[in-house]
Symmetry: C2
């Protein structure tokens, strides 16, 4: 952390980046760092290849997140948040071309340490790490920063439900609440402003749900045609696979979705199975309870292949 | 609190009661008090008219909750938790016949103060109050007590999402976690034990979702035949109408379901509409944000009639 603080002090023009298909932790942390840097007089910018999802647009300064960079633009420092790998910022991204110093702040256990300074902790959310960093920097955590960090913690812990949620997570959430984050209105903004098409696709996905004979594996398959016919976008699928996991007796939940660049497969597990291992076997990665991979082929054959892998592990 | 502690000290045979149709806070608090009383050597009993719901049976000593009392049995003290009114314990219940001293610990703002000692606070959950009481009593909050109280807080705050969730709520949750409550496994036990048919019917309901032109009213219709074909029971529909309300722009959410005794109509509203008034017009009742009615007729004509009522109010 001290190294990061030194690097920030030495820099003026700073770019904060996060991963494509951004979630609440990615957007929340990016904006929190942005606000903190602005507070201490830095010339800060935010970049995310994909635009801010609708449900996070209520966050302060969400409109300052850019999905384009000027050609040949150069920064004193790049800070990447919530990126396990440089490629997560975008396929053809070379951070090195943007700045001499790269700071990598992340909580993925398989982080590739792509930064010059790497601050990696295996905890619930990057927001917890940013909270500690800002404390160390003696930046005042005012209401807007608190709101962004609360969103990061809330979404990455599945609203205080996942494994990595600790007493310290709750302590930090309490601090953020005292600093002005409004728990119920934030929860309402994130969880009760679903799009009509996200509910329709949830319906289709659950209606099409299948499960193994013993009921310990459940999955659903979403062909591109179906998603198009319901007007469903990628962000409309958030949380869908968690619904599958919430069924009694299900150990492994899987969502198959057909996208432009292949079949995206999302895994969730309950108690027993390490789905990060399964994802790795298939060329993907992630966490013990939540992982994913992208496979090539038609839906049916990918499904067969993936299920075979899962059943192998369950045996 | 001091009076309660005194009353407990003076008593030996103590009965703890809670309300019918018990929720997580009711069961969690009842067992937490039971464990604490046992710890300090009291002869403690638990009574609830209805049996412990399936999802709370993982709680320690849940099997000690009795739904019957011996005739003419007498106690030194009765402690009622989470009961706004004596009648909530059961229609024909007279606590006075069971003991000379009644302690009433509750968080409903309209509590009738039916106890000899009333400890009423308008906060998120009774579990928070019991936590403070046990601290004052200097009872060690060990793992089992912590688990019960965590369930109370978690369920009564809608998993840390409702209005009354405060920084202190999170502080107490953190303490309980440090005392041994396992956040993710508790959340999984309570929230991730849905039945396969409840997920299928959720899917069907959402896939069939309709909405008004401006999107402020959304509804779904569940014919009996559909529910039967998915093996869905009435309890599988819990929370379904809340999903409809969670859509952005929806002010009124409605679920129509065809049952033996008529068409059941459930209403939810977000900010603006008092759905209790709408339900009353249709012969039903409820709260401002959640209400219901049962109407006779076929699905289509009931739907037309109800929607006409709703649009009248929205105009």
């Amino acid at each position: 952390m001290q190294e990061i603080i030194k690097a920030i002090k030495a820099a003026n023009k700073i770019l904060i980046v996060t991963h494509t298909d951004p979630d609440g932790d990615a957007i929340g942390c990016m904006i929190a760092v942005y606000l903190a840097l602005k507070d201490i007089g830095k010339d800060a910018y935010m970049y995310c290849k994909d635009s801010v999802p609708e449900i996070y647009k209520f966050l302060p300064k969400a409109d300052k997140v850019s999905s384009e960079l000027k050609e040949n633009e150069h920064f004193d420092l790049v800070i990447a948040v919530d990126c396990g790998d440089e490629k997560r910022v975008g396929d053809h991204f070379v951070l090195r071309e943007l700045a001499k110093t790269i700071v990598n702040i992340d909580h993925h256990p398989d982080n590739s340490n792509f930064g010059d300074i790497n601050y990696i902790e295996t905890i619930s959310s990057v927001a917890e790490m940013i909270f500690k960093l800002l404390k160390k920097m003696k930046v005042k955590i005012e209401k807007d920063i608190a709101t962004c960090l609360y969103v990061g913690i809330m979404t990455d812990t599945g609203n205080f439900r996942y494994d990595y949620t600790t007493a310290e997570t709750l302590d930090i959430a309490a601090s953020l609440t005292r600093a002005g984050a409004k728990i119920s209105s934030i929860a309402m903004s994130v969880y009760e402003t679903r799009t009509f098409s996200s509910i329709k696709i949830l319906g289709a996905a659950m209606y099409r749900l299948e499960r193994s004979e013993s009921g310990n594996v459940a999955w659903t398959v979403l062909p591109k045609q179906l998603m198009d016919s319901l007007g469903a976008k990628s962000e409309d699928l958030t949380g869908l696979v968690d619904h599958i996991r919430s069924i009694k007796g299900v150990d492994v939940a899987i969502l198959f979705r057909e996208e432009e660049d292949g079949i995206k497969v999302n895994f969730r597990s309950k108690f027993k199975v390490n789905v990060s291992e399964i994802a790795k076997t298939l060329g993907g990665g992630g966490h013990i309870r939540a992982s994913g991979a992208i496979l090539q082929g038609d839906l049916e054959s990918v499904k067969e292949k993936v299920l075979a892998e899962v059943f192998k592990v369950l045996k």
